[in-house]
Symmetry: C2
Subunit: 165 residues, 2 copies
């Protein structure tokens, strides 16, 4: 069986830009102090998209079991009506696998290791793997879209990808 291998890279704003936004508080972010200097606001790290009939941005928690590496990726998904953000609620790393779209299929896959303190906002209609926690069961704060239309499209690979360090 032909299996392509994808090597995991460290996540940063620059390499993730084609797919969405990295959510993290850094010195490079726009930030300012509020509440009489008691709080620093790292402002507008990501924009939430919610399109379609009766569309609404909603907050959920995803409790994800960990995957182990190397990992066989058999499918990807995308959400045509909304962005989807993931942020761990404990200091945890996780894996973000995304792809370009070519003729309605995921192509040129990339796998990123989100470090402690990093989350991601995946742009509307960007192919991505299901949430991949690492090492331990992890709760994620998720902002995505609720609305009338079906917001989930999936694609099953003929040959799975092997994701490794």
């Amino acid at each position: 069986m032909l299996m392509k291998t994808i090597r995991i890279k460290a996540l940063n704003q620059e390499n993730f830009a084609p797919f969405g936004e990295v959510i993290e508080a850094t010195e490079q972010c726009e930030s300012y102090f509020i509440n009489e200097g008691n709080c620093r606001r790292y402002h507008n790290l990501a924009k939430v998209e919610a399109k379609g009939e009766n569309a609404k941005a909603i907050i959920s928690i995803f409790r994800a079991k960990p995957i182990s590496l190397p990992f066989e990726l058999k499918m990807m998904e995308r959400h045509p009506f909304g962005s989807q953000s993931f942020m761990p609620l404990s200091p945890s790393q996780f894996l973000v696998i995304v792809a370009k779209n070519e003729n309605g299929k995921p192509a040129s896959l990339q796998a990123f290791l989100a470090n402690i303190g990093q989350g991601v906002n995946i742009d509307i209609n960007v192919w991505h793997a299901p949430l991949c926690a690492l090492k331990m069961e992890t709760d994620f704060f998720v902002v995505d879209r609720d609305g009338a239309e079906n917001n989930l499209e999936t694609y099953d690979f003929e040959n799975p990808y092997r994701i490794e360090k």
Copy 2:
């Protein structure tokens, strides 16, 4: 100086309902399994409101210094164009102080201790105190609203409130 005292109560869905939503993954939430059973989605724990011209829900991180108790509360604020959610990014408690509105002023204040695993979504235009971390500097994941109109109204108390355990 006349100072009213507000005693801190444990936060739960029921007592916070007049002010917004508690964001937490519990057995009472609507939840279902996704990703072939590897992930449990605690669904739609809170709705994001973003109103006004060019309104958009945005994601920010607030890095808040801790307050110490007892605490003197001198002002409150509200956001007429959007909800605002706060979720700690580490296992941390924090304080949520909210109030009813009476004649455009905060009244009948209540102080809630958000336990580890709990966040809040404060409804549009609900009076609340600035973010109160406890014990240590804490990063919070914040979903609120960006847009054309001024979304901040503040109210300074003639006599501060004393918030205590």
